[in-house]
Amino acid sequence: MQFLGDALLLQLGYNATLVAIGAALLGAASGITGTFLFLRKRALVSDAVSHATLPGVCVAFLILVGLGGDGRNLAALLIGSAVSAGIGLWCMNWLTRNTRLAEDAAIGAVLSVFFGFGIVLLTVIQTLGIGRQAGLEGFLLGSTAGMLMSDALVIAGGGAVVLLVILLARRPMTMVAFDPEYAAARGLPVSRIDMLMMGLVMAVTVVGLKVVGLILIVALLIIPAVTARFWTERADQVVILAGVLGALAAYVGAAVSASAPNLPTGAIIVLMSFALFAVSLLIAPGRGVLAAVLRHQRFQRRVHIRQGLLALAQNQTIYEPLTLRLLARAGLARPDGVATAAGRARAAKALRDEHRWDILRRDQAQEAAAALYDGLREIETVLTPDQIAEIDRKIGTPKEAF
């Protein structure tokens, strides 16, 4: 525990500190970038992009070796990965635009084929017998062990550039992500903004390869965005929150991973992200599961009681056992379905309200208020007492309905 505390406070030494800060920057950049993808309902595009980096890494490695280098230049490998990810993206877009395939199929085709080809190249590299391909396998699952200062600088720099671009282009990107048609109508170049978005996804993926690996970078692009969505309905807040959540998960994950052996950085960061997601899924107000279950139960009770009251008011048989149970529990009816005194009063009020609504909904001047009718809404929330009195005059003297 002491060790973990040290790690969180950046007391584990130079290398771990470097990794933790770099990871946090990456987490923020990917959380924010991923939000735009998620809002655009294209979350899994990141899956295709990340898998499509592999052949590029391998080709860049082969070229470096061919030129007589040792193939471990991170910047060059990242450029290679960016090129092949770009080609993969282009293939994906071409398939969806020019053939009958849906986007999910195009994503799957690109990711499996590019990845498969990457594996072929990996085996080529292995058979060439260059002893240093171990570094390449790090790109599959990420590895922060042995990260150099220059590596960390590439990652931190890449993350910072991505964040800067987003900061500059956040307004049009938000608009396109939320409502592309409206954005197009406003004269925004939607397809170019989409391309920018994809470019950012690519950049984050490429930068993140070294830390979490190409399979798990997808998690950093998707999970923080989905998590943030639970807490707010506002696009700008989702973006910021996703950045914070991504940075938090990445920072804590990197620190935890440094605190003990055999804790792979990428996996720990993803699991941290998921922990935040699971908590949000359960307890977030509004969209969280607990809140939704409670709300639905309350809603179902309201529906049944209201329906039961209306049935009582009109002397109709109540068929639903649940309605009867709820009425009885509320003291509005006896278990056999006969209304109590309180039930009769509430029933009369319900029916009178229903009739008031009926008048209201015929009134052309009140169209906006009438549209709020859903069977449950109290008429007092829509009309003033004066207006209700006015309607009652139209109905005639209120009398018992039965």
């Binding site: 199929a105 499996s112 072929v120 058979t127 804790l263 792979p264």
Partner: protein, 308 residues
């Protein structure tokens, strides 16, 4: 091309073909139901399933591992569905959350457990070991009639064949409801079809095919075969029956050409060793898809004249 072929290539080829076809068959329906990426999710989560099975049994034996992978697939599907419904999240994002998390769990478990001594690693999970599934007792075509030699067939071969039979049997038996429910789910439900169970059964079949293929040929082929042959077949025809036929052909073709290219291709261009057959099969399936997308007779969406 005689005895050598039987010893070294016959069984891997057959296993590759069976695996490819077993994945392509349910892939046709997954593609039409816009669930193409379920195969991707299933193959990612097989890793944690296998690791958990290893940790529980302490041995690298086939059946517990296959059960583990299948169990993980079911867990993943249930989680995806649960998160999608409970959190009201679009299916793609729900899938992304689940499979990356489970995969990360698998990686962590792998690192934590001492599995370095046994043949269980991420690489194996990705590439499989198709090339090593040779038939040492198969000394020539005559061995196909020799019971003592047949007894030493790689166990993957009968297992993969059985898997293919199960998957194909399921598709054949439930062809009509699958077709109706895929085309028009609402209508299917008014006829009393349990479309939810049918969808689950289809995913389960996909999981069985994936897990069996996984062990023999690795996850790359699995993902590629779920999507590429059906997608290419989609460009060839406007009839589901014919599409499935094309997809089987394309899957088998990918397996054969990919295997041959991986084995002999490098020699032709002067390299000493073969490359990954799994990766090459996936690559070939992608090339077939590219050709179909460029030249297939039915590659464009059938556009209904609007209005009218």
């Amino acid at each position: 091309m005689g005895s050598d072929f039987v010893t070294l290539s016959l069984t891997p080829l057959l296993i590759g073909i069976f695996a490819a076809v077993a994945c392509a068959l349910p892939g046709n329906f997954l593609l039409l139901r816009k669930q193409a990426l379920i195969g991707d999710a299933i193959s990612h989560v097989a890793l944690p399933g296998i690791v958990v099975a290893f940790l529980l049994t302490g041995a690298v034996t086939t059946w517990p591992m296959m059960l583990g992978a299948a169990g993980a697939a079911v867990v993943a599907v249930v989680m995806i569905e649960g998160i999608r419904r409970l959190g009201r999240i679009e299916p793609g994002a729900a899938m992304g959350v689940v499979f990356t998390t489970l995969f990360a769990g698998g990686v962590l478990l792998l690192e934590q457990s001492d599995t370095s001594s046994v043949h269980l690693d991420v690489e194996h999970a990705l590439y499989g070991n198709l090339e090593s599934l040779i038939w040492l007792d198969g000394t020539g075509w005559g061995s196909l009639l020799d019971p003592s030699a047949l007894a030493y067939l790689p166990v993957e071969l009968p297992r993969m064949a059985a898997t293919l039979l199960v998957v194909a049997g399921f598709i054949a038996l439930f062809w009509r409801p699958l077709k109706i429910a895929t085309f028009d789910e609402g209508f299917a439900r008014t006829m009393g079809l349990r479309t939810d169970l049918l969808g689950l059964a289809l995913v389960l079949m996909a999981a069985i095919a994936a897990v069996a293929a996984f062990d023999a040929v690795g996850s790359i082929i699995v993902i590629a075969m779920f999507i590429c042959p059906p997608a290419a077949a989609r460009m060839m025809t406007n009839r589901l029956e014919v599409q499935v036929g094309w997809s089987v052909l394309f899957a088998a073709l990918s397996a054969v050409v990919g295997y041959v290219l991986a084995g002999y291709g490098p020699l032709w261009i002067g390299l000493a060793d073969a490359v990954s057959a799994a990766g090459m099969i996936a690559t070939v399936s992608g090339l077939i898809l590219a050709l179909a997308a460029l030249f297939g007779p039915c590659r464009a969406r059938a556009g209904a004249p609007s209005g009218v």
